[in-house]
Amino acid sequence: MLIYVLRRLALMVFVLWGVTLAAFVISHALPADPAAAALGNNAREEQLQAFREKNGLDQPLVVQYGLYMGGLLRGDLGTSLRTQNSITADLRQFFPATLELTLGAVLFALVIGLPLGIVAALYHGRLPDLLARLFALLGGATPVYWLAILALGVFHERLGWLPGPGRLDAYSLAPPLHTGLVTVDALLAGDREVLVDALRHLILPGLVLGAFSAALLTRMTRSALLEVLSQDYIRTARAKGLRPGRVIWRHALRNAALPVLTVLGGLFGSLLTGAVLTETIFSWPGIGGYATTSAISLDFPAVVGVTLVAGLAYSIVNLLVDLAYAAFDPRISFS
């Protein structure tokens, strides 16, 4: 098991190296000048030249890559061309917001998708199944930005049930920064008001971002469960006279869990990086917005940094999912 994990981690290093190389090459292939982008329309030639020298942009690409990798090995992701901040600091600031939103979305996806899938499978072909499948279809087909604007319009503007964009009410200031997760920071500060406020602000964007995943999860749970329910051991369990609830939860679901888990892992990875639209509309200060702004302003080091973190998050989630297989299915072992 330990050896397996170590091998996977070693492999991850190679994957991430490939990711940096690809991101670096692609972002430098653009026919535009990052100095001009950073300094704007009115900058003078001497300023541009000074900027290029300061940031090493006048060096050949190979040298730039060498410098970048050298910094990376020392744990330094470089300096943002746009903000002149350390990218490590920027990511430490923006990643927790995205992580928090993603956790919220996954939670909502689980809470909605899993039970709906179960119900659909149990009522196979009947009305509840039909409704669940309709939800899965709609949830999968509705564009996120539309859903987001609709949700804001209805639940915030019209009904006033839920707060609008942002992580916290505009009139309350964020708790002292520890983890960057506002909910956790509020807990650490013992500030119940801010905690409730942060949770309330998570509901709409979490639901919107989680809708697509919930739909997918409904579909996956339904089909996985349907397949398992037709197996002999379920019939045996029922014949033994086990209570129906026990048959479903202990025997069927456990065996249907693997495909569901795979989907969930993939979703988690894609949510972490795919939150750009949701973050924009909900004014959520996460890495989605950071990545977009950086890309627009040709901030190469920042773009590579975000790509690297996204790759890392994706790899870790995948590894965790693989490890979780063993927990669900004793036949799988990694020794």
């Binding site: 535009a32 329309n41 809470v111 503007e157 942002g166 964020a174 409730v196 917005g289």
Partner: protein
Amino acid sequence: MHDAARAALTWSARTLTFALALGLTAASAQSGRQSTLVIGGDFSDLITLDPGVSYEFSGSLIAGNLYDTLVAYEGNDLQTLRPRLATSWKVTPTATGSRITFTLRDAKFSTGRPVTAADVVYSLNRVIALKTPSSFLLTDVANLKVGSVTAPSSRTVVMDLPKTANPNIVLALLTFNVGGVVDSAEAKAHEQNGDYGSGWLKDHSAGSGPFVLNRWDRSAQVALDANPQAFRRSASIRRVILRYMLESSVQQSALNSGEIDVAWDYTPDAFKAAQSNPRLQALRTGTFQLAYLGMNSAKGSPFEDPRVREAVRYAIDQDGIIRSLLQGLGRKTQTIIPIGLAGSNPATPYPYDPAKARALLQAAGKGGGFTVDFLVSTGACSGGVPCQDLAAKIQADLAKVGIKANIRQLVNAELLTAYRAQKAPLIQVGWSPDYPDADGNGTPLSDYNAKSLAWRNAWNNPQASKLAQAAAVETDQAKRAALYKQLTELMVKQGPYAILYQPYKPVVLSVNVAGFNRNANGDVQFEKVSKK
């Protein structure tokens, strides 16, 4: 079977009920709403709050409330200089140029220390030493060096200028945040690796302005608190919060629900709807931006012939653009100096006249028309119009006179690179002056030697260069106005530009906000705002 389904649904329902219950909990942070001003907008250009470094719209807006300059403009009058930290100033000629002597008022920084002449000298020297994006204003335009500004007493600042610098322009650019005065003791205390404290001042403040920075949560919000030490004291607003809200639709929703008091970035369509809403105030605030077409006049280009450039100016339907695309959020102007600056020229010699345009093309030997690459940004253009919508209208107008413009959409950075390399045959862009003075447009747009816009359009006219240079250093206001009249007349006839419009910036407020004014520079004095 039903058991299991029920269990699954109950679990789900419980969690969702909890979520909804949270949602319905009344907002708890009601206190202080009356004295807090919340502005929603796209502040993503914000890079630093250091007044000497910041060069972006959002940075200037905020720095203007954290720091004081020696002189300033008040309200919408951007032609009359007013006292700020300096109670009075005097311009005297010297053997080598001119000297401005400022007398300082009795003011205190938010740190409690007095504002002294030494702080002014330090603040200006620091900008020169740091080589920030705005330091060329002090070094190249004002021709200042370390040592040019001195403090003979704690209340007197003396600035020595060479003949090449116009003291009126210097005073005008000192109103920009590049002239913001920093508490030197505080900046020195936070200095790291010779950065004059700019790493710290990025997200802290040490000024004498009406507000101090509480905190800046990047990409989320900037919170300012009233500065009790300030001499321009905020009467009723204790806190200002600038919330990042990129989307106009989101700003609308937040303004309607009372979550924000001011929306900073409405689209023309949304603005039109706001005008008829009795719960909102829709302000058309001025700007010094110009949206224009640049025509590359290099040898061999179709725009080399001035008659072709004139034809384009006749071919553009400015009124149509302003009426339909901008929904009235723009002013019609055709000369290179924006309305509102001394030296601007209200003449509009080019009515929409496709027949005349065709005749001019005929005379230039281009009767059969021609094809040209038309470079356009992918983003929004001046006035909040999508660049591609504007470009489509221009394309249609040009097609009517036989010019086939092939639209090539590029991201801004790429567009700028092509323009800077003189590789834009026809381009749709905007320009705004760096400081509220006619020279901010006069030199870059007319003087080829400035290597700015005239150069980018490969347009070299020695007479225009001479006029722009003469007007820049002329200190006699009447003579200066006459020079700009000549220059604008020459440019409107000969120049490589077709000015499209001068946009208004729409700002929408809730009816209960009073005293909110945004001037054409983009400044708002938050201390003058109150909420009913």
